[in-house]
Symmetry: C2
């Protein structure tokens, strides 16, 4: 029988808020994370330990971690750029470390001012610190399906980067369609190319719906055995008036597809929808998910 | 080798404009159809011969048909509700007749004030008139995956309606996800249930992206052998500020997926994009497709 369990990594509190122009209060961030956990989210990326000068929106990572109500069975993770960030994160008691680099040299250089090789070297002690504390490490591979500067990224290039991360000891890979260009054949092809590198149950898809292909890519992933997808509640981080133009795949829309296809996620759709409505009030603007559009229309606030 | 040809029925001039609040001039409608044909669209639903009192936006069907520049190889079709509409359409020289009914009784009654059985009886002479003129007939089955009044529609119910249409002599069926609730498993299931009723190359999918699942449903359709999809350029007919909340799947977004997956449609993407930009100027509001959002952002008018 097909395994129908699918897990979702909720990246709204980090990836979503990082891309919001308005800063959200620490209190609201804590409430956001706690509401997600209450709705059944089992993997929540809480914040980032990137230097505050680079991402001021998430400068309160320590305060957020100190105030959240830790639930049993929930993994509270954070984005970690380097050893300094890892040291801060360990003091906060994170449950998992998320590191990142790009599959394309140009994007990686623009993002972290290093070559891919230099980034891999810099990540080694980060992974070692995490593993010394028995923490799992997730590695984001951005621009895995296309780069804003280089265009299409060759499969071999991505396979090389993933292999290097696995060699470093990274436990799980999240393949990012950072600019939302991927189509299902690319998903299927890259997953096949990675078959010898790490098991598919250690690969997640981090999709953007820029060109309307994210959900088709989810389907291609499911068919290839992927059991973990990243989502941002309400599509937080995207622009509501440019549908899907920059945001992550919306967790609420993802849940609609998964639950009606018979997959189990442990997430309560009603509670998640309540949290999305609450979140919209917090950020004081319409969120771009289809689910929120429907809810606003139903309440006469389309 | 897999057949990579996919056809698209462009329903923007009929289904799209019918759902636009602002009336578009006859001249612009003619230009719209001619631009679509020029871009390579081979199947265009030009207008509707429903009584003008019901759909005043399309009251100029005769004028539009008289003025379009007919291209060799392009099928210019129209929506036909009854014998009176068919007689008007025949005088216009349509290439194909599109008839319609719903899979659910309540939706059908609200739409045409008849039971499904009464609708089928009323369609018989329409199909006969079309066939007497050697015109192919396409039958739309609305609410094939869900009804706003009855909820989920049983597969057997849809199979029964499709079977009745095939028995009437309808040549092709377009399964409509009218309220955009379908998920890929429903697409796969219904197509399998219809396997004994008519060949898959005579089944089209008419999808709405209300919940973000349209493109995943396209993928499920392609995998099941469907080679024809309906689209509305730019997502015309939907609301740009409620992404996908009511509109048809956008042809420009569909083309992105199809072409990058290696399917051939004969449609020139650049010319289609130009037409979408032109159309946006005509209707004087942003169109909801992802492609238009990207184009507006690129030109600084997000």
């Amino acid at each position: 029988m097909k395994d129908t369990r699918v897990s979702v990594v909720e990246v709204g509190p980090r990836d979503g808020l990082q891309n919001e122009a308005n800063t959200v209060s620490t209190e609201d961030k804590v409430a956001f994370v706690d509401r997600l956990a209450h709705a059944g989210c089992q993997r929540i990326e809480v914040s980032s330990f990137v230097a505050p000068k680079w991402i001021p929106q998430l400068a309160d990572a320590e305060e957020v971690f100190a105030a959240i109500d830790r639930r049993q069975g929930v993994e509270y993770s954070a984005l970690i750029p380097n050893v300094r960030g890892m040291e801060r994160a360990l003091l906060c008691g994170i449950d998992a470390a998320h590191v990142f680099l790009s599959a394309s040299e140009t994007h990686n250089r623009k993002n972290v001012n290093k070559t891919i090789a230099e980034t891999l070297s810099a990540l080694r002690p980060v992974v070692e610190l995490a593993h010394a504390e028995q923490l799992p490490v997730r590695g984001y591979v951005s621009t895995a399906f296309g780069c804003p500067y280089e265009g299409r990224v060759a499969e071999e290039q991505v396979v090389g980067v993933v292999t290097s991360l696995v060699d470093l000891g990274v436990d799980e890979i999240s393949l990012g369609d950072t600019i939302g260009v991927a189509v299902p054949t690319q998903i299927t092809g890259l997953l096949a190319a990675l078959a010898g590198v790490l098991p598919v149950d250690r690969i997640s898809l981090h999709l953007h719906d820029t060109r309307g292909t994210a959900m088709a890519n989810v389907l291609a992933g499911l068919q290839a055995g992927v059991t973990c997808f990243d989502g941002s509640l309400g599509g937080l981080g995207g622009c509501p008036y440019a549908p899907g133009a920059s945001g992550n795949l919306a967790t609420d829309d993802l849940l609609y597809l998964l639950s009606r296809m018979g997959y189990e996620t442990c997430i309560d759709e009603d509670k998640l929808a309540e949290t999305a409505a609450w979140l919209e009030a917090v950020v004081q603007k319409p969120l771009p998910s289809h689910a929120r559009s429907i809810a606003r229309r139903a309440s006469g606030r389309a």
